[in-house]
């Protein structure tokens, strides 16, 4: 196998006086979906925010294709090809769906073929193309948030809980979107609490607890071992 697209080596992140990440190690292989799992509050979001540069790693290295990006400003990390879908979606409510997408296409005008592909996955975005994003439903906002990352080909996608708080019908739309992205050969680091989605999409899996990585392996292995899940996450994922 080739080198991983992303590698975290002993990453420590402090927020104010709190030591949130305490030596996170992580590998994200190319062209696969890598799951980042763990109970609430263990540091998954903080890990993604540290990669994109919203928080600074106080120690350790973050290698994107072998290059250390841990000191780079956020816009430079984004332009290096990292697409970020934050947990709180981060859509611009005052802007239209179209304007949100125009901004997401940083390297130039939107590629029409790619946009058609995005529309085929998320039809409501076409319907509400000229509407203010603030008027979209929760599920549609999440679609827009993911569509913004998808509108250009990125070297790496960081996606934080894309199905959080959504109705089952929309969760399946999200899952299909991620699956299509995966089929295009994208490299994805995905935080996902919905187990059936995680099992359907995940290749590798990494479990965090208390700011550290406590287990790394294959999703298939984790999803069939209820005792392991119980030990790692304090609950059986099958139950969900």
């Amino acid at each position: 196998m080739s080198d991983p697209i992303l590698r975290l080596e002993g990453v420590y992140t402090n927020i104010a006086q709190y030591h949130i990440l305490q030596g996170v190690d992580l590998e994200v292989p190319r062209g696969a979906v890598t799951m980042l799992l763990g109970r609430n509050g263990v540091g998954k979001t903080t890990t993604l925010r540290t990669i994109i540069g919203h928080w600074r790693a106080h120690q350790g290295r973050i290698l994107l294709d072998g290059e250390d990006i841990s000191r780079m400003p956020t816009p430079a990390i984004a332009r290096a090809g990292v697409g970020f879908v934050p947990e709180e979606m981060g859509i611009f409510a005052d802007l239209t769906v179209e304007e949100n997408m125009i901004l997401a296409a940083v390297s130039g005008p939107i590629d029409p073929a790619r946009l058609d592909w995005v529309f085929s996955i998320f039809p409501p975005l076409k319907t509400f193309w000229k509407s203010e994003a603030g008027n979209l439903s929760g599920g549609q906002k999440q679609m827009l948030s993911i569509a913004r990352a998808m509108v250009e080909e990125r070297r790496l996608y960081l996606i934080d809980e894309p199905t959080k708080g959504l109705a089952p019908a929309i969760i399946s739309t999200m899952a299909r979107a991620l699956k299509e992205l995966k089929e295009q050969g994208a490299s994805i680091l995905l935080v996902e609490q919905n187990f059936s989605v995680a099992r359907a999409l995940g290749d590798g899996a990494n479990v965090m607890d208390d700011g550290r990585m406590i287990w790394s392996g294959q999703m298939a292995e984790l999803s069939t071992d209820a005792a392991l899940q119980e030990r790692l996450m304090g609950l059986s994922m099958e139950a969900h």
Partner: protein
Amino acid sequence: MSVAPEHAPKMAQASFAHRLGPWMPVLLIPVLIVLGFLAIPSSTSWLTLTVSGLAMGMMIFIMASGLTLVFGLMDVINFGHGAFVSVGAFVGVSVLLVLGQMTSAPSLALNLAALMVAVFGAMAATGLMGWAFEKVIVEPVYGHHLKQILVTMGGLIVVEQLIIVLWGPEEIYIARPEALKGAVTFAGAALEKYRLVAVAIGLVVFLAMRWVLRRTKIGLIVRAGVENGEMVQALGYRLRLVFVGVFIAGSALAGLGGVMWGLYQEVITAHMGNQAMILIFIVVIIGGLGSVEGCFIGALLVGLMQNYVAFLEPKVALISNIGLMVAILMWRPMGMIPVVKAK
């Protein structure tokens, strides 16, 4: 492709009241004008006051527009913004005094040429000054409101003293260019030409700003940045650079406003910017911090209110604007056009 129920179009059925909501602030302007008409006994006085109210509002808008975006984008409270008003006025007026031959000639073309040079000089000077002010005074205190207030106030005092050093402590009187003197009569009311021009310039500046904010990518970045600067950066845009650009443009606009204000009053002092700050802050707050449209509407309301009340009861003119602010904040605590902040 199947579409889940939640995707079904559902924006069309918004109630009338709901659709009216965004327009309510705009409607306040005609409402205030009608109230003025009812309160002011003479309709010609009312017309004159309305035009000067709108003119004053436009000038306040030009001075305030940069400040609202600076706050919206980086959460920076700049009490020193008035410095650009004063410096703009002094540079512009100095240019006009040097070009006295051109401004006193009864030629519209020569007058306009002199004005253009004055405005360009004032905006170039204040834009440059804005760039330095941002770098030296504002950047070190990003994220610290109390420090921002203290440091930018200090900056204002320093600039005022520098004006006094350069131009002397006396106020400077300035006559308007020939073509802008006098008034035109409309429906029996005397409307000063200068005020009509000020209204026109204000409208042009507002429409141009709106166009940039809505139709250009940089405008989209600014609007998105006001809402969620972190996400703008995560998409790959250097917010800090955008902010510096907005700061410079806002300072240059304040400089333009200073020239216009100076010619309106026909006298300038080092403290004029500081004095204008009260109205500028009222306008920025009632408009909704970060909203250019809100700032525009707020400025017109404040200008009209100031003129109507000064006519009816001169002593309460400023108080009336503070009353207006209180009333609007009770109605909409985040200002007339609240900016949704993602935080």
